[in-house]
């Protein structure tokens, strides 16, 4: 019964996933963040990576439909570059099997999964695998040993490029399995829920480990000195990092991410001014 339903929902264009398409997606993905910008972030890279699929799928579609498709992929998008292929594979599977009038659901899946995947990827690649590979290689390199640089380059890239290469395939085939199981809504909700929990754990960890803000102010009081930072630490470790993150979150949530650049420049200016007065 489910098969019959799925056959009905396939768009009219004949589409067959091939190794050639996977290869093209991989090559397009090598330019993924070239057009990274504060407003839409990876949006154009997202469209370019999906183009090998979209071009074939919409070969005979009228221009208005193509325009709608392009705009669907030019919406705000940001995730982890290395894990993104998994999501693109899934999106390709959804594109192929979703009828045109329900394509909006793809956008909601796309935006629902990008956050958790970003959190996971940052934690996994930039804060775990890279530091391990690079600290081994760099400690050899500082003694002038060229093997150190080669080690890091080879080991990290086997993992990094491998995850990208197979990501498209795994995303597409698993995505098709999910869709054909007839329970795609539930499975995608489950993946997104579990990934969000994991992503939030990593984000909580990052607040503590990557945001650094200390106050070097000291006051003389009688015999000893009062160090402001010690007082702050007694209340809660990393209190200032938490407050700063909460403030940024509040501004970004309120303005729908429009204040990103303003916040970054604001922090720079405030830091310079406060450093001048010796407060930071």
């Amino acid at each position: 019964m489910t098969t019959a339903q799925n056959n009905q929902s396939v768009p009219s264009t004949e589409f067959q996933m091939t190794n050639k398409i996977y290869r093209e997606m991989f090559i397009h993905h090598l330019t993924y963040q070239w057009s990274w910008n504060y407003e839409r972030q990876q949006a154009a890279g997202c469209l370019y990576t999906m183009t090998p699929v979209l071009k074939r799928l919409y070969k005979d579609a009228p221009a208005e439909v193509k325009e709608k498709t392009v705009k669907r992929y030019l919406e705000f998008f940001n995730t982890h570059a290395t894990l993104a292929p998994l999501l693109f594979g899934l999106l390709a599977a959804l594109e192929v099997s979703t009828p045109e009038e329900e394509k909006d659901s793809i956008t909601s899946i796309k935006t629902g999964l990008m956050g958790p995947i970003a959190g996971l990827g940052d934690g996994l690649f930039w804060f775990t695998i890279w530091p391990i590979c690079a600290s081994i290689g760099a400690s050899m390199a500082v003694t002038g040993n060229v093997f150190g640089a080669i080690f890091t380059f080879v080991v990290f890239n086997i993992i990094n490029q491998g995850v990208k290469w197979f990501g498209f395939r795994v995303g597409y085939t698993k995505g098709m399995d999910i869709i054909n199981s007839g329970k795609s809504d539930e499975i995608i909700q489950r993946i997104s829920g579990a990934a969000t929990v994991l992503g939030l754990f990593v984000a909580g960890c990052l607040v503590s480990t990557t945001v650094s803000l200390t106050i070097p102010l000291e006051f003389a009081s009688g015999e000893g000195t009062i160090v402001i930072q010690d007082l702050v630490d007694q209340i809660m470790p990393k209190l200032l990092s938490v407050l700063l993150t909460a403030f940024c979150y509040w501004r970004l949530k309120k303005t729908n991410g429009k204040e990103t650049v303003l916040l970054i420049f604001g922090i720079m200016i405030v830091s310079i001014v406060l450093t001048y007065f010796g407060i930071l």
Binding site: V65, A141, G148
Partner: protein
Amino acid sequence: MLVQALLVALWAGLCSLDDGGIQLQIRKPLLAGTVTGLLLGDLEQGLIIGGTLELMWLGVNSVGAYNPPDITGGAIIGTVAGITSGGGVSVGVAFAVPAATLILQLVVLLQTYLSVHIHRAEAVAKTGDFDKVNRWHLLSGVFLFLVRAVPCFIAVFLGNTVLQDFIDWLPTFITDGLTVASGMIPAVGISMLLTMMLKKNMWMYLVAGFVCAAYLGLPILGVSLVGLVFAGIHDYNFVQNKRIEESINSMEVEGGIDL
């Protein structure tokens, strides 16, 4: 000098494109510095300076929409300065830090400007021609290439005396202030992630992750494993609730039939 300057600029541009997509991580100080040393004919110094900067900047990573100090440009210019001045690793590090901060400002400006390309791309979308739309994405690569190639070319061509003069001329509170800022700016990136992830009834996982790191001092892999446990529990509860919901629904249907 001109040939070397062009070679280093080309390398800096390639590292820039790597940062934007290829992700071979030749953009990281270890590899960016090593190859720069090779181009200047001193592989060993390149390894030492690149390796030192890599260890120094190991924790410097982009999170969400946050750009860290530009470790790529910093490492290349630092290696150039360390080798051409003959001062080695200490001169290299001394140049790399302000250079990284300065090139970051150029990158931020570029990435603010590049949203123009997205609007152009959207404008040509009505033609329905995917290639025309994607042209704006690929054109951005040229800009990305130049944003690091040009400063690195200038650094090698004009030599480190000009750089030294410029850095000496900069008041220390500006460079110190920017260093302080680079510790604070990750908060923007994390917040950006949170605006995408933080849903109702999910905030406690964020608190738990923070507690694991800040109070218990767990490294990120440990935090992720604890997170995995909670993700499993969350998923189990989700499935159970779904089943209960389904059985309630079917009971209602049966009840309806009975009536």
